[in-house]
Every structure is written in structure tokens, then in C-alpha cells.
């Protein structure tokens, strides 16, 4: 058996990579990809714990997370296209109209 701590550890590392990507990358599409990484890391943690605890709850939550991720990706990409049409850029640093 692979110890569960490996799965949770991997999940944590993946999540951290996702966070770093969201905070540090300039390209909006890359930021979205990082968000997907974060969601999948969470999925991994849920599944591993479900297997360990013998409960189906974790597996069912994964379904929900995947659904939400898909819907969110669709909407997000639509927003990116709209932003690009108006601003001619996908550089997060340059989209700062809310700057005070």
C-alpha cells in the first residue's frame, strides 16, 4: 500500500504550485491553468482520504468539484476573450482599471 501521507503530500505540493502560479504569472490563461491545478490537487486529497476512510462522500464531492471547475473554466475563458477584445492584452499587470 502506498502510504496516505504521500497522496496528501502530493496534493499539498500541487496546491502550492497552483497558488504560486496564480500569484506570480502574468498571463491570464496561465493563471486559469494554475487555478485548475489547485482544484485538481484538492480532488486528489478528497479521493485519497475517501479511500482511506472507506467513505463514498469524498468521491461524490470530487464529482461536484469537477463540474464546477468545468463550468468555471468556460465562463472564465469567455471573460478572457471579452477582455482581450477590449484591452488587446492578456497581461494581468496591464488590466488595472480599478487602480485607485
Amino acid at each position: 500500500m502506498v502510504p496516505m501521507s504521500y497522496f496528501v503530500g502530493l496534493s499539498a505540493v500541487l496546491f502550492a504550485i497552483g497558488v504560486a502560479g496564480v500569484l506570480l504569472r502574468r498571463d491570464i490563461i496561465v493563471i486559469f491553468m494554475s487555478i485548475e491545478i489547485m482544484l485538481n490537487a484538492v480532488n486528489l486529497a478528497f479521493v485519497a482520504l475517501a479511500r482511506r476512510l472507506g467513505s463514498m462522500d469524498g468521491q461524490v464531492i470530487v464529482f461536484f468539484v469537477m463540474t464546477v471547475a468545468a463550468a468555471e473554466a468556460a465562463v472564465g475563458l469567455a471573460i478572457i476573450i471579452s477582455v482581450f477584445r477590449n484591452r488587446e492584452t492578456v497581461n494581468a499587470d496591464e488590466i488595472n482599471l480599478l487602480r485607485g
Binding site: 496564480v22 493563471i31 494581468a92 488590466i95 488595472n96
Partner: protein, 640 residues
């Protein structure tokens, strides 16, 4: 015995309505409405006062009409109400204020006809009438003080009526500030009285109550009396606080007539008379009152003799005559003092109105050296002014004779021979400067500038002159000497309020001789005036150059204004400009207000910097928050 008389409130209500009307609707309603409303409400108040007076006469002596309007201060045991009391003394004062006031309001319709601000003028005049009536009708010391302050305010507003002129505005402020010094004394006096009563558990400032407990006031009587006297010297222009009155002459002449001759300035005398029970407890304070009155009377008369501005002569004359009133009440002759208040209101009010008539006819000229030979062209003004001059000079038969003579006689009877003598000399001076005024203005050769169109005043101005003229002649006949017809009627009317004058013995030969001396002084004054200003007009000029130092001293009013300026005013102005204006007002208060605004601006600037517009920064902050919550949860739930 007292009876309720709710209509008393109308005496206050009518002027109040007049004030409100003139303030809010005066301009829009037009001159006609204001000319009706302004004087009209005072005539109505006078009518109500007459009604009350008739009621009072029908009641036994010592009766009073009262009404309580509403409770005012209820603080523990201290209760004060807005309540009015119409006894013999306040009846006399109310009739004077509303009667002479109504006549002067009517005169103002003519005098202020060319002025743009007629609505504001009548608004202030009505407000003054309201305040003065509150003062004389109040049944307690606190409400009287409210009226006291109100007349001071209106005096300021009306002196500085033509406020575009910086000097006029300054004189208004000077009047108010000097008055305030007196008011400080007044307030301290009230507190002294209250503290003395409170020590015995009595908490009232009601005049009836004060009189009932006057025994408790004995220990503080002198102190309270002197403090209240300070207030009286401010309001009634006595030494040391008289300096505002001559400068108050820059206001419209009807204002000078009403406020600075007939009514407001008598408030001090009224106050002392009202509190006679306090003053009779302290012969020392009464002596101070009498001395101040006498010295002021003499001092002001000497200055009046050399002034060339017609209104200034009358101003100093007012100060002098008020001195007589103080002399009277200081000697214990309260009724005599009030009697002189009444006759003075008639003849001094008339003198000012006549002066206004002349000024009006000469298109603003007030310098007597540029008048002369006016009697043919202004006969009504001349006749009434002559009547007033005879009255003030205490020529037998005229009103002033009876009142001034009564004061002098009773001062002598009270044992103040020295004061009596100074009073007699002052009477001579009075005749001198008044006939000087008359001769310079109406007689002699005309020194009027050729472009002046001299005309008699319109009836709306001359009718008041005639009314007051008649009163100046007959007004004194209410108090004939004892033994003649209804002798002593006026003093008998007031006796239930004051008690009898302490020494009624001064009758017969002694009284006769005293009266003769006063009449002699008057005649000498008249004769001197005739010699100096009719017979040999060049003589005054030669005397002036001959005794130039003395002459300069008198013309410059003994340099008192300069002295006050040096000792008090300069320091106060410096303090006001540098400490209060720059330091407190601009520095502290503006600093706090502006500082609050600047502070908020600074805080805003600092928080603005968090709005970077960069989504990733926002996400980072979000992350920190989330970590914080998890850490807190871990700490609180798992560790504990």
C-alpha cells in the same frame, strides 16, 4: 392684593408680533403696511396698559395685577416663571414706555421716510419695545435681566443701524461692550442675592418673595447693592460707564429719543427702585448711589455747556438728568426719582425729536454753529422745543420743575446738604446749556448754509412733538406740592410700593427757601445764556480763548475716552486680535476643523495605496486571510 389679568400678556404680544411681521414680511408688504404695523402695535400695547391702569386704580392701594405665562426654570427647589406683575411702579413705567414709545414710533414714520431699511428699523424698534416692556413688567429678577439684555442688544442694533459707516458700527460695539461690563456686575449681584437666600433654604428671585425675605438679605445687601449699581451705571450711563451714550448719537434721532433718553437708560433707576427694599437695608450703598448720581450730573452738565453738536449736548444732558434720578433714589426718594423718569421721558424725548426735526430740515446738519434764526421758519418745532427747554430747566409750572424740585427737596431733607448744593449748581448749568442750545439754534443771526432748504416738518412728525410738548407742560401736574389741590397724588400712588419717604417734615418755610435757591440758580443760568448768546455773541469766543486750557478740557470731555482707551481698550483690542483671533479662532478652532478634514484626507491617501488594481495582489491578500482563518481554527479547536 393681587388679581389675575391675562390681558397683560397682550402688552408683550403686540410688539412681538410687530417684530415678527417686520422681520419676515416687512420688505414684501411695503411701506404702507410697515408704517401701520410698526407704530400700531405699540399703540395697541399702550391701550392695554391704559386698561390695566384703569383696573388698578379701581383696586385698593398696594394692589397688583399678575399673570403667569409659563414656567421657565424648574431646577430642584429653584422655580422661576415667565410671569408679569403690574403694580403701581410697573404701571407707571409701562405707560411711559408704551405711550412715549408709540409717539416716537409715529414720528419715525416721517423721519425714516427716505430710508431704504424702514422695515428693519421698525423691526428693531418693536423688538426694543418688547424687551423694555419685559424689563418693566417682569415679576422676578431673572426675567427682568432678560429684558435688560434685550434692550442692550437693540440699542446696539439701532446705534449701528447705518452699519456701512465703520465709525457708527464701532460706536454700536462700544455701547454693547461697555454695557456688558455693567451686566457682569448685575449678574454677580443676582448671584449674591440668591446665595444669601439659598443659605436659608429659600430659592426665589421673585420680587414679592425677595421683599418678604429681605431680612435674609441684610448681610449681603451692600455687596449686592453695589454690584447691581455697577449694572445700573452701565445701562443708565453714569460714572464710570457712561462713555457709550454720547457716541450712541450716531444712530437715527428717534432712536436717541426713545432708547437713550426716554426709556432704556431709565432701566437702572427702575431697577434700584424695584429693589428699594434691598437698598434701604444698606445706607452705605445708597449713599454711593446718590454720590455717583450727583457727581455725574454735575460733570456731564459742565461738558454739555461747550459742545457744538446739538445731539451731543442732549446726550450729556441726559447723562446729567439721569444723575438727578440716581441722586433721588440714593437719598431714599424713590417716588421722586421715578417721577423725574416720567417727566424726563416727556421733555427729553421731545428735545431729541425736535433736534431730529431740525436735522431733518437742515438735511443732516447737526452743528449748532451752522444754525440760527430758525424760529420763524420752524414755528411748531420752536414752540415745542421752548416748552421742553422750560421743562428741563425746571421753570415753575412746567413738568421738570415739579420733579427736579421734589428730588432736590428730598435730598436736602435726607441730610445730604452737600449733594443738594451740587444739584442746585447743576440745575443752573442745565438752564445755561439748554437755553444756549435754544438760542444758538433758533435765535440770533442765521449761520445756515445758503443751499439748505429749511422747512417745517410734516404733520406725522409735528403731531408727536405737540403731544410731548403738552405733556412736558402738564405732565408734572400729577404731583403738586403738598397742600395744593390734589397735592402729592403721584407719590401717594407709589407709596404702597416704596413706603413713605423717611422724613416728611420738610415743609413750610424750609422747603420754600430750598425751592427758592434752585429757582435762583435756574434764573442765573438763563440770564447767563441770554447774555452770552443773545446780547454779546462774541463773548463766548473770548472766554474760550481766555480760559483755553479749561475750555479744551471740557470740549474734550475731560479726556475720559482717551483715558479708557489707553487703560482698557488698547489692551483688550490687542488681546482680542492676537490671542483670540489669531490664537484661538484661527489657530485652535480652525485648526481643529481644518485639521480634521486634512486628517481624513491623509488617511484616505494612505488607504488609497492598497487599491493597486492588480488582481494578483488582491488574491495574495485573500490567501493570507484564508491562512489566518485556518490557523485560528487550528489553534482554537485543535490545540485548546
Amino acid at each position: 392684593m393681587t388679581a389675575q389679568f391675562p390681558a397683560l400678556a397682550l402688552i408683550l404680544l403686540f410688539p412681538a408680533l410687530g417684530f415678527v411681521f417686520n422681520v419676515f414680511f416687512g420688505r414684501r408688504a411695503g411701506r404702507g403696511a410697515v408704517n401701520l404695523a410698526g407704530p400700531g402695535v405699540i399703540f395697541l400695547a399702550f391701550a392695554i396698559a391704559l386698561w390695566g391702569f384703569a383696573r388698578l386704580l379701581a383696586m385698593p392701594p398696594g394692589a397688583a395685577l399678575e399673570v403667569t405665562l409659563w414656567p421657565w426654570i424648574v431646577a430642584g427647589q429653584f422655580h422661576t416663571a415667565i410671569a408679569l406683575r403690574f403694580d403701581a411702579l410697573s404701571a407707571v413705567m409701562t405707560l411711559i414706555v408704551s405711550g412715549v414709545g408709540a409717539v416716537i414710533h409715529l414720528y419715525s414714520v416721517g423721519y425714516m421716510a427716505h430710508d431704504e431699511d424702514y422695515a428693519r428699523y421698525f423691526a428693531y424698534m418693536n423688538l426694543f419695545a418688547l424687551s423694555m416692556l419685559v424689563l418693566v413688567l417682569a415679576d422676578n429678577l431673572l426675567l427682568m435681566f432678560v429684558g435688560w439684555e434685550g434692550v442692550g442688544l437693540c440699542s446696539y442694533l439701532l446705534i449701528a443701524f447705518w452699519y456701512d459707516n465703520a465709525q457708527f458700527a464701532y460706536n454700536g460695539r462700544k455701547a454693547f461692550v461697555v454695557n456688558r461690563v455693567g451686566d457682569a456686575g448685575f449678574i454677580l449681584g443676582i448671584l449674591t442675592i440668591l446665595s444669601a437666600l439659598a443659605a436659608h433654604g429659600v430659592w426665589t428671585l421673585n420680587f414679592v418673595g425677595l421683599q418678604a425675605h429681605s431680612a435674609m438679605l441684610a448681610p449681603v445687601a451692600t455687596l449686592a447693592g453695589l454690584l447691581l449699581l455697577l449694572g445700573a451705571t452701565g445701562k443708565s450711563a453714569q460714572i464710570p460707564l457712561y462713555v457709550w451714550l454720547p457716541d450712541a448719537m450716531v444712530g437715527p434721532t428717534p432712536v436717541s429719543a426713545l432708547i437713550h433718553a426716554a426709556t432704556m437708560v431709565t432701566a437702572g433707576v427702575y431697577m434700584i427702585a424695584r429693589l428699594h427694599f434691598l437698598y434701604t437695608l444698606t445706607p452705605d450703598a445708597m449713599y454711593v448711589v446718590a454720590v455717583i448720581g450727583t457727581v455725574t450730573a454735575f460733570f456731564a452738565a459742565t461738558v454739555a455747556v461747550v459742545q457744538t453738536d446739538i445731539k451731543r449736548v442732549l446726550a450729556y444732558s441726559t447723562i446729567s438728568q439721569l444723575g438727578y434720578m440716581f441722586m433721588g433714589v440714593g437719598a431714599g426718594a424713590f417716588a421722586a426719582g421715578i417721577f423725574h423718569v416720567m417727566t424726563h421721558a416727556f421733555f427729553k424725548g421731545l428735545l431729541f425729536l425736535c433736534a431730529g426735526s431740525i436735522i431733518h430740515a437742515l438735511d443732516g446738519e447737526q452743528d449748532m454753529t451752522r444754525m440760527g434764526a430758525l424760529w420763524r421758519r420752524m414755528p411748531i418745532t420752536y414752540a415745542t422745543m421752548l416748552a421742553a427747554t422750560l421743562a428741563i430747566s425746571a421753570v415753575p409750572g412746567f413738568s421738570g420743575y415739579f420733579s427736579k424740585d421734589l428730588i432736590l427737596e428730598r435730598t436736602f431733607a435726607a441730610g445730604y446738604g452737600g449733594l443738594w448744593l451740587i444739584g442746585v449748581v447743576t440745575a443752573g448749568l442745565t438752564a445755561l446749556y439748554m437755553f444756549r442750545l435754544l438760542f444758538l439754534t433758533f435765535h440770533g443771526s442765521s449761520r445756515v448754509a445758503p443751499d439748505k432748504h429749511v422747512h417745517e416738518s410734516p404733520p406725522v412728525m409735528t403731531v408727536p412733538l405737540i403731544i410731548l410738548g403738552v405733556l412736558s407742560v402738564v405732565g408734572g401736574w400729577v404731583e403738586l406740592p403738598a397742600g395744593w389741590l390734589w397735592g402729592g397724588a403721584f407719590t401717594r400712588f407709589l407709596t404702597p410700593v416704596f413706603g413713605p419717604f423717611r422724613t416728611e417734615a420738610a415743609h413750610g418755610a424750609a422747603a420754600g427757601a430750598i425751592g427758592m435757591v434752585a429757582m435762583l440758580a435756574t434764573f442765573i443760568g438763563f440770564a447767563l445764556a441770554y447774555i452770552l448768546y443773545i446780547q454779546t455773541p462774541s463773548l463766548p469766543g473770548r472766554i474760550a480763548t481766555g480760559a483755553s486750557a479749561l475750555y479744551r478740557l471740557l470740549v474734550r470731555k475731560y479726556y475720559v475716552d482717551e483715558l479708557y482707551n489707553l487703560v482698557f481698550a488698547r489692551f483688550l483690542f490687542w488681546g482680542s486680535e492676537n490671542v483670540l483671533n489669531r490664537g484661538v479662532d484661527r489657530g485652535l478652532i480652525d485648526g481643529i476643523v481644518d485639521g480634521a478634514g486634512l486628517g481624513v484626507e491623509e488617511a484616505g491617501e494612505m488607504t488609497r495605496r492598497s487599491e493597486t488594481g492588480n488582481v494578483q495582489v488582491y488574491a495574495f491578500v485573500y490567501l493570507i486571510g484564508a491562512v489566518g482563518i485556518v490557523a485560528a481554527y487550528a489553534y482554537l479547536v485543535m490545540v485548546r
